[in-house]
Symmetry: C2
Subunit: 325 residues, 2 copies
């Protein structure tokens, strides 16, 4: 369910009149994406995506996201390029919501990740980090380590109903992660996507296998440890449905990444704890959604325990090599 | 929520290899439609819609629907044209579901119906009825008058929880509708859409106002009274959000329809009871879904009481003229 706000055709036409995109040809709600309302928009000028930003996104942060996408697109990253209205502004308003039109990216996100996806993913992630290096505006990670304690507090009342003993296990895990987390200044930082799950990466077939044709959904992007973005991807791309860690996929991802941006020794050493951190971050937000979402709400609640299994796996990782680095 | 079945990219590629549509360019789930899984599909040959038929649709009936769409499209109706695979078949299988690719129709469905939509709608409905006249295969209306009694029985245990006294009111309404329903053979029959709600009709702007660019979702189509299809549209298009009947819209719809296919005196006389029938049909299926759907299910439950208000309105209609005819 990804259409929360309905747009009347009059409002849409008035909105589009401010853009140099020609006449409206088609307009369909897109089922993907969980945070915002997304529409496939076709005009005389081609295909676009119209996004209406819903309540979870702070409107004051939107200019940063749009500027980052514009910066990355200008450096050849296949990410959505915000389209400016005639007044030069990309961020506008529609149906009472902040709204933006971005370019449409071709491709298909992989419903089932294969090893062949992971090398192009790793290369795309490295290119993203390199392209962001001269984007200077900082956006702190609102879901970084400092947020995990407060998130766990909010899950404390309902957490054990999801699985007995869960809250105590997370208390211990979070203490261990904090103790091992790299001190400030030790690892390189930069602009990270922070949510590069398979449904945010489009592929097209090419000679020699799939190639990345698009990276989307930059609305968790922030300024944080570059290697933490890799840790998110290892969590999101390298586990099989049975919970096993696929080191072939991880190795393909990490090798391709390092061809473009080699990891420092400190980054390699930190990889296991960064993976634990990424696991607990997704576990906690899912757990919070799980316990806070009324059972009847029209939101797909994702299983938090999937990330408990990942957290436990990474807690036993003996080093970066065991993770495929 | 209109993606129930996820399709892996390997399965999609294998499926597409059987079609003369060139390479896959994009594939996105569509949020609209409630019965089936719909994807926007872009290939080298253009834009298409891929539909996976879910459990509510009887796979044995799919050939009838696809043949009707092909028949109508060949006669110039802007409806989806099923695309045949290399083996000549339009109905195939994907991800364990019956599946078909149809042409993409441009346009936007009206989130808020204006009077200017209703004349082109009426004309499109008349053209649909005329174009179906030489489609000979009969499909009985599975949600016609004979189904309403059994449907009401299934709603009997839970109905009064939706509104006290509701079941008794529906018992009386159904008896009155049955008593007044036209005898077989009195009104002209043919192929009807039977579900022509605003989200199934696309419009584009043209000189002089909106024009219909597409009629979609023929999976309730059947062989039934032509004027009943008008009654469905009067229910679906001619009430304001406050529950009032907009006779200007109804008059525009009926006048434009009759320019192409004038109603007989018997059809005009039957219009009020046909409208009551259409109201109770949507009331009963919504009521059944409301009482049968678990509160946590990912299905938007539509308010059945909206149609109780319409049913009451039509019960007091004094004749076709009072409805705008």
């Amino acid at each position: 369910m990804a259409v929360y706000t309905e747009v009347t055709d009059e409002a849409l036409r008035a909105f589009l009149a401010d853009y140099p995109l020609g006449a409206l040809r088609a307009f369909r709600g897109i089922a993907e994406g969980v945070e915002n309302s997304n529409y496939a928009l076709k005009t005389e000028a081609g295909d676009f995506i119209l996004t209406l930003y819903e309540r979870r996104v702070d409107p004051r942060e939107l200019p940063w996201f749009l500027a980052l996408m514009e910066h990355l697109a200008a450096r050849g990253i296949d990410c959505p390029l915000p389209v400016k209205a005639r007044d030069g502004q990309a961020l506008r308003s529609l149906a009472g919501r902040p709204a933006a039109i971005c370019t449409f990216l071709p491709g298909v996100w992989p419903r089932r990740v294969r090893p062949e996806h992971c090398a192009p993913l790793g290369a795309a992630l490295a290119r993203l980090h390199l392209a962001g290096a001269d984007f200077d505006e900082v956006r702190p990670n609102g879901l970084g380590p400092a947020s995990w304690g407060p998130l766990l507090e909010r899950c404390r009342p309902g957490g054990d109903a999801v699985q007995p003993g869960l809250v105590a296990e997370l208390d211990a895990a979070l203490a261990a992660i904090r103790a091992a987390w790299p001190a400030e200044g030790v690892l390189p930082t930069g602009q990270i996507h922070a949510d590069l799950f398979p449904d945010n990466v489009f592929f097209l077939d090419a000679e020699g296998g799939p190639r990345v044709s698009g990276l989307i959904d930059f609305y968790f992007a922030c300024t944080d440890l570059l290697a933490y973005d890799i840790a998110v991807c290892l969590n999101a791309w390298c586990f099989e449905p049975d919970g096993s860690y696929n080191v072939t996929k991880a190795h393909a991802l990490l090798s391709a990444y390092q061809k473009l941006r080699p990891l420092s020794a400190a980054e390699r050493a930190a990889l296991p704890v960064l993976c634990r951190g990424a696991a607990i971050r997704f576990l906690l937000t899912r757990l919070y959604d799980w316990t806070a979402t009324p059972a009847g709400a029209l939101v797909t609640r994702k299983d938090p325990l999937e990330y408990l299994r990942k957290l436990r796996f990474f807690a036993h990782a003996t080093g970066a090599a065991s993770l495929g680095a």
